[in-house]
């Protein structure tokens, strides 16, 4: 197992910048997820780590060794593809044993390790079946088996659960994570699904338009989004943004928004008058009859354990996650207040988060 270090990785296709100078380090044994919408460069980054694409510039280190321009086969990594890429002309045993055969291991050893791997993944009863008849989950397990059988330095996975249905995906998420905990392999996992990312990752990099918007633990990314893009991309429903004009000075503990004072975490930096955005997670909103911030209930969405209430305010639509004990009717006018220590502030023009007490100690968190 190994640490993966990526430095200033740049990839362009003609005029199109797919990956714009990424740098990050995946610690040995970490489950690292690259998360972002399609076309954000996450798959390209993964393919460069794998050696399936060559970077335009930058460097990739695997276990301290510069592998930037090494062949894929010389990197000692395993790749799980979205479509699994099981060889249709081979049965399960041959598929799993294929990487060992490629590097010329003796037959007895291949047999032994294939069977051991199959037991680990609980597919030992399928070993002599052709791959064409397998169900989606079993195909997935065979693909994983083919990856882990060689005990490579790192696993790279490109949306491996993308083709499975939702119920099964959750199951495979758990299986993948527990497999990772057992074999402690450095894993780089690409997905556009925030739930997969949040539930499995040790570290997440949220990517957009070739840039890494934020790199951190799932909790850091959820609680302290570094940009409006991250705040909007993570969470369902996403963070609400209340845009306003204002200036900020360090030490302040409130912002003025259309005459209303709203308490925020203590500010750590100054901003001249400009367009700002206050970020509020739906679960950090409460009804408060005394609040100056008022709005009309637009619709409510019943979700069993809680409900999502959409409120029309002067700052736009705000979605709030509420307990189900209060009955709310569309058309009602209500007051809203926020859980002040959990609010985020952004520069609305470039989307960057403004430093507040929210980020204190966050560097190490």
């Amino acid at each position: 197992m190994a640490e993966i270090r990526v430095e200033n990785l740049l990839k362009t296709f003609g005029d199109f910048v797919a990956v714009a100078g990424s740098s990050f380090t995946v610690a040995d044994g970490d489950f690292f997820v690259m998360l972002g919408p399609s076309g954000c460069g996450k798959t390209t980054t993964l393919r460069m780590i794998a050696g399936l694409e060559l970077p335009t510039s930058g460097a990739i280190y695997l276990d301290g060794e510069d592998v930037t321009f090494n062949r894929a086969s010389q990197r000692d990594i395993a790749f799980v593809f979205q479509l699994f890429a099981l060889y249709p002309h081979m049965n399960v045993r041959k598929n799993i044993g294929f990487p060992l055969k490629c590097i010329g291991r003796p037959r007895g050893e291949i047999r032994e390790r294939v069977e051991e791997t199959a037991r680990l993944l609980r597919i030992d009863h399928l070993l002599n079946k052709p791959v064409s008849g397998l169900a989606g989950g079993d195909r997935q397990r065979v693909a994983l088996g083919r990856a882990i059988v060689r005990r490579p330095k790192a696993f790279l996975m490109d949306e491996p659960l993308g083709t499975l249905d939702a119920e099964f995906r959750n199951l495979m998420c758990e299986e993948l994570r527990s497999l990772h905990d057992r074999i402690e392999a450095t894993t780089v996992y690409v997905t556009h699904d925030q739930l997969e990312a949040m539930s499995m990752a040790d570290k997440i990099a949220v990517m957009n338009l070739g840039f890494i918007e934020q790199f951190g633990t799932p909790q850091e990314i959820y609680d302290r989004p570094a940009t409006m893009f991250v705040a909007d991309f993570i969470g369902s429903p996403p963070m609400n943004f209340l845009r306003f004009q204002g200036a900020l000075s360090p030490g302040a503990t409130a912002v003025r928004m259309n005459g209303a004072e709203i308490a925020v975490p203590e500010l750590r930096e100054a901003r001249a008058e400009g367009e700002l955005a206050l970020g509020v997670r739906p679960e950090h909103i409460r009804f408060d009859a005394d609040s100056a911030l008022r709005g009309k209930v637009f619709e409510t969405e019943y979700l069993g354990t809680n409900q999502i209430v959409t409120v029309e305010t002067d700052h736009g639509m705000i979605k709030a996650r509420m307990r189900n004990d209060s009955r709310i009717v569309a058309g009602e006018t209500i007051g809203l207040s926020f859980l002040s220590e959990r609010l985020s502030l952004f520069e609305a023009t470039d989307g960057r988060a403004i430093k507040t007490a929210l980020f204190d100690g966050g560097r190490h968190g």
Partner: protein
């Protein structure tokens, strides 16, 4: 016969099935009657083969086949009488016509030429075609679209339209009437078909398979041979049949460019002369034998062929 094979979810009306059956039978008759006639003529005697009205019922004879494989000379009655008794049925058959066998005919050689040239050019077309198609399918080839169009454009006129230039070129290069010349010529004609067909097949194979193999330790060539080729087998088989049928049946170039050493069967068969004109039973026997390899080849690969020509229409 076809009525029972109609097997759709919505059962057609009986009259429709009968009509469809009749159409199939009629079509089969139209296409198969000439073949049956050739086959039967091969077993007629020369007089029977040109009798009028044509004989459908006749006494079968192997004279056509004997004549196909031998050359014979007519002898005087005295000479015939002086010969020892015939050693086998072939000689007896020939002597009944007051002739003796002078030697083997050229048919065997010509047939062998057809096999060498037909299969040789098919192999070369498919081999080069597969490599080219793979490159076009997977790599960034400069001017890819223009090159593909250029390859296709070689099919935009009948090949025979360039017969004169090729004839002159081959004479200068010393390729006239050589196996190599004919193999190259048929390959040149077939390769555009092979590249286009095979590119379609290879495009359908997800590139993840090779990438997985590359990561697992194979080189690009190993991945191509061990992973791509097995999956392209259907396409390769279908392409091979199309190429072979063209090369096997080609007549015009063979007539123009070959006369001796490298002459293939198609220009040779119609020139089998017997006494007083064409030896029709021998011609028919030659045509019958000529059909066999291609029929066998097609039967062997027909499963692939059927899958091949409908490939891509329905995704599994």
């Amino acid at each position: 016969m076809s009525a029972s094979t109609a097997n759709s979810v919505v059962e057609p009306k009986p009259w429709a099935r009968r009509l469809a059956g009749a159409a199939v039978v009629l079509y089969a008759l139209i296409t198969i009657v000439p073949l049956i006639w050739i086959f039967l003529t091969g077993f007629k005697t020369p007089p029977d083969s040109i009798s009028y009205p044509p004989k459908v019922i006749f006494e079968p004879s192997l004279e056509g086949y004997v004549n196909l494989f031998t050359t014979r000379t007519r002898q005087t009655a005295e000479y015939m009488a002086s010969l020892p008794p015939p050693e086998n049925w072939v000689e007896r058959l020939v002597r009944d016509r007051n002739m003796v066998i002078a030697g083997p005919s050229k048919f065997g050689e010509r047939f062998l030429n057809s096999i060498i040239i037909g299969f040789g050019s098919t192999f070369l077309s498919v081999f080069l075609g597969t490599l080219a198609a793979y490159a076009f399918s997977r790599f960034k080839v400069p001017l890819k679209d223009d090159l593909m169009f250029f390859i296709l454009s070689t099919r935009m006129m009948p090949p025979i339209a360039v017969a004169i230039p090729i004839f002159l070129m081959y004479r200068t290069l010393g390729l006239s009437d050589t196996h190599l010349g004919m193999i190259l010529l048929y390959t040149a004609v077939n390769i555009s078909l092979a590249v286009w067909l095979l590119k379609g097949f290879i495009d359908e194979i997800p590139k993840e398979y090779e990438e997985a193999a590359l990561i697992d330790g194979y080189t690009r060539l190993q991945a191509f041979v061990k992973v791509v080729l097995p999956q392209a087998a259907t396409g390769i088989a279908a392409t091979a049949i199309f190429c072979l049928i063209f090369a096997w049946n080609e007549y015009a170039f063979a007539l123009l460019l070959t006369s001796g050493t490298a002459q293939t069967a198609p220009p040779f068969i119609p020139t089998i002369i017997g006494e007083g004109g064409l030896d029709w039973p021998a011609v028919a026997a030659g045509a019958t034998l000529f059909l066999i390899p291609i029929v066998v080849f097609t039967i062997l690969l027909r499963k692939h062929l059927l899958r091949g020509i409908t490939f891509g229409a329905v995704r599994k």
